[in-house]
C-alpha cells in the first residue's frame, strides 16, 4: 500500500481575521436578522417586546414547533417532507389526555394526580407517535409511495383519529404533574437556573478545548488561540445571558402569595422570585443536543446526510436506505409526540385543534433555518433559530396590533424571501442548489 507520507499543511496567513474565527456566516446572518427584528418590534411596542416577560413567553411558545423542526431537518435532508406533524401531534395529545384523565384514574383506579400517571401517559404517547412515524416511513421507504402523498394522507388521517377518540371534546384539566412540562407551571427557579447555566458553560468550554486538542494532536490546522477565545467568550455570554433573561421575569406577587398560602406560610414583604428556566425549554435544549450529536457524530446521522446528498452513492456504499427512511420518520413521529406533551401541558387541556397548521410552521422553521429542500444540507440549530424567528415575527406583529390577514401575508412573504436570500448566498459561493 501507499507510504505514510502526510500532506503538507497549507499556511493560513492569507486568511483575514474574520475568517479565522470560522464562524458560520449563514448563522450570523440569521442572528443578525433576528436581532434587527427584535429591536424593531421593541421600538414599535415602546420596550414591551424585549421585556423579560415577553421574552419568557416567546421562549415557551417556540418550544413545541422548535422540537418538531429538529426532526424535520432530518426528513428534509433525506429529500422527503412530512406534512402530517400537526396531525401526529394531535392524535398523540388526544391519547395522552385520555390516558391521564380517563383510563388510568377511572378504569385502572389510580385516582387523579397519581405520581405514575404522567410517566405512563407520556410513554404511551411517545410510543404512538414513534409507531405512526415508523409506519409512514415504511410506506415511503419500502413501498415507495412518495412522502408527500403518505404524509398528506396522514395529515387528514391522524388528527381525525384524535377527534374520533375524544368525540371532539376538549379533554382536561390534565394531570397536575404533567402540566409541569408545559412552561409557566414548571420552572427551575433562579438558583437552579444559574447552576444549570454554569454547568452548561463548563461543558461547552470543555468540549471546545478537547476538540481543539484533538486537532492539534493529529496535526490538523486549528484556529488561532485568540479566535478560539473569542468564540468561547461569545458562547459563555449567550448561555448566561439567556439564563439571566429568564431569571429576570419575576413571578407576579399575587401568584407568589397564593403559592405561599398553599403551603400555609406567609409571604415575606417585598419578596421577588424569578421564574428561571422552564422545564419545556430544557426539553428543547436536550432534544437539540441529542439531535446535533446524532447528525454530526453518529453513523445514523452520517448516512442521513449521505443519502440526502446522493441516494445512489449511499446505496452503493452498502447503506440500507429503506430502513434509514423508516428510522428518520420514526424519529419525526417521536418528536411530534414530545411536542404534544409540551403543547398540551402548556394549554392545560387537549383541544381538537391543537397543533393545527404546525406542519407549515415546522417546515418553514427548518427552511428558514437553512435546510435545503433539495436534500443533503441543514442544521439543527438553524431550524431552532428559524422557529424562534417565525414565532417572534408572529407575536411581535400581534403586539404591534397588525391585522390578522396582514400577519399571515407578512409571514408567508418572509418565508419566500428568506429562501430566495439563501439561494442567492449559495450561488455566490458557487455551490449547486
Amino acid at each position: 500500500m501507499t507510504e505514510t507520507t502526510s500532506q503538507p499543511i497549507p499556511s493560513q496567513s492569507k486568511r483575514n481575521m474574520f475568517q479565522q474565527l470560522e464562524l458560520d456566516v449563514r448563522l450570523l446572518g440569521m442572528i443578525g436578522a433576528f436581532v434587527i427584528l427584535c429591536i424593531g418590534f421593541n421600538i414599535l411596542t415602546d420596550g414591551r417586546f424585549l421585556s423579560p416577560r415577553n421574552l419568557f413567553n416567546l421562549t415557551i411558545q417556540t418550544v413545541s414547533v422548535a422540537i418538531m423542526a429538529t426532526g424535520m431537518v432530518f426528513v428534509i435532508v433525506m429529500r422527503h417532507i412530512d406534512l402530517s406533524v400537526g396531525g401526529v401531534l394531535a392524535v398523540s395529545s388526544a391519547v395522552m389526555a385520555l390516558v391521564q384523565t380517563k383510563f388510568l384514574p377511572t378504569y385502572l383506579g389510580l385516582g387523579f394526580d397519581h405520581p405514575l400517571t404522567w410517566i405512563i401517559a407520556i410513554a404511551i404517547g411517545l410510543s404512538i407517535g414513534t409507531l405512526i412515524g415508523a409506519f409512514q416511513g415504511w410506506l415511503v421507504g419500502y413501498q415507495s409511495v412518495p412522502a408527500f402523498i403518505v404524509t398528506l394522507g396522514g395529515f387528514l388521517v391522524w388528527r381525525n383519529y384524535g377527534w374520533l377518540f375524544t368525540s371532539g371534546q376538549t379533554i382536561g384539566p390534565l394531570d397536575k404533574n404533567f402540566l409541569v412540562l408545559g412552561g409557566v407551571s414548571g420552572t427551575m427557579g433562579e438558583a437552579m437556573s444559574w447552576t444549570i447555566g454554569v454547568v452548561a458553560v463548563a461543558i461547552s468550554l470543555w468540549a471546545m478545548v478537547s476538540s481543539r486538542r484533538g486537532r492539534i494532536q493529529h496535526g490538523f490546522p486549528a484556529k488561532p488561540a485568540w479566535a478560539e477565545g473569542i468564540v468561547m467568550g461569545i458562547v459563555t455570554c449567550a448561555i448566561l445571558g439567556f439564563v439571566w433573561i429568564l431569571n429576570s421575569y419575576d413571578i407576579p406577587s399575587r401568584k407568589l402569595q397564593r403559592m405561599f398560602e398553599a403551603k400555609g406560610e406567609v409571604m415575606p414583604e417585598g419578596l421577588e422570585v424569578g421564574y428561571g428556566l422552564p422545564i419545556s425549554v430544557l426539553i428543547l435544549i436536550a432534544t437539540a443536543i441529542v439531535m446535533t450529536v446524532v447528525a454530526r457524530r453518529t453513523r445514523l446521522g452520517r448516512y442521513i446526510f449521505a443519502t440526502g446528498g446522493n441516494p445512489d452513492a449511499a446505496d452503493l456504499s452498502g447503506i440500507n436506505t429503506r430502513l434509514l427512511t423508516v428510522k428518520v420518520f420514526a424519529i419525526m413521529g417521536f418528536l411530534c409526540a414530545l411536542s404534544a406533551v409540551v403543547a398540551s401541558a402548556r394549554l392545560q387541556n387537549h383541544t381538537n385543534d391543537i397543533g393545527t397548521l404546525d406542519e407549515l410552521r415546522v417546515i418553514a422553521a427548518a427552511v428558514i433555518g437553512g435546510t435545503a429542500l433539495a436534500g443533503g444540507a441543514g442544521t439543527i440549530y438553524g431550524a431552532i433559530l428559524g422557529a424562534l424567528v417565525m414565532q417572534s415575527l408572529q407575536s411581535g406583529m400581534a403586539m404591534v396590533g397588525v391585522d390578522a390577514p396582514l400577519q399571515n401575508i407578512v409571514v408567508g412573504s418572509v418565508l419566500v424571501f428568506a429562501v430566495w436570500l439563501d439561494i442567492q448566498y449559495r450561488k455566490r459561493l458557487g455551490a449547486k442548489i
Binding site: 497549507p10 449521505a306 452513492a313
Partner: protein
Amino acid sequence: MTASEVKTAQQRRIDGDTPLVELKDICVSFGGIHAVDHVSVDLHPGEVVGLLGHNGAGKSTLIKVLSGAYQMDSGEIRINGNKAEIHNPRDARSYNVETIYQTLALADNLDAASNLFLGRELITPVGLVDDAAMEAECRKIMGGLNPNFSKFAEPVSALSGGQRQSVAIARAVYFNAKILIMDEPTAALGPQETQMVAELIQKLKAQGIGIFLIDHDVHAVMELCDRASVMKNGQLVGTVNIDEVTDDDLLSMIILGKVPKQAVA
C-alpha cells in the same frame, strides 16, 4: 517479492489454477430485455481483464452483478473457487470486491474523509463517528495517491474532476481490495491524471489484485489489459489475449461481433 517467485497471470491460466473470480452463465433481464445473456468471464490474481462493448452491450450490468448493485436471474459467481452469495453492495464488500463507479458514487455534500469511509466509518469506543481518525487516515492515503490534494475540509462538490476521481479510487483501494472493478475510470480525466490511473493499475497488479476494467477506448484497453472480453447485445462475443490481437481485431469484435480465428483465449 521477486518476479521469479510469482507466477504471472498468464502462467496461472495455463497451469489451470483456480481463478480469483468466475462469473458463470450469468443472465440478467429487465422487463423481458436480456441485458446479460448467458455470459461467462473469469479473472486471475494480478490480471487486468478489459470489458469492451458499445453502450448498452451489457458490460456495466454484468459487472454490477459482481458489485452487488444488481441481482442476477440465473448463473453463478465463484470467488477463489467457492460459490459466492452477493445480494447487495455490502455482501460484495465482504468478499473484498471494490468498485469505482463511472459516476464515482460520491456524496457531494460530504468531505473527502466521510466519502472515503462511507458505510465503514471508524468509530470511537463509545460508538460515535471518529472524524479526526478518519481525516488522519484520509490525509495519509491521499498523500500517496495524489500529493496535490489539499481540500480535506470542503465537501467533495468543491473538488476538480481529477480530485474527485482520486477520492473514489482511494475508497476502493484503501479497504484491502482483492478484486477491483473500474468502470471507465479515465472518462472524465485529463492526460496527466489518466497517466496516474495507469500507474496505479500497474501497482495494484503487482500486489496480486485482479482488476475488471470497463472501457470504451480500445487504446486504453490495449495498453492496460492482459485480456479483453467483448460483449455485444448482452452476449459475450469472445475473450482474447491482448498480445495476440490488434486494435482492429478488437474493433471488429465490438462492431461486427466477429472473433479473430487465431486469438481465442
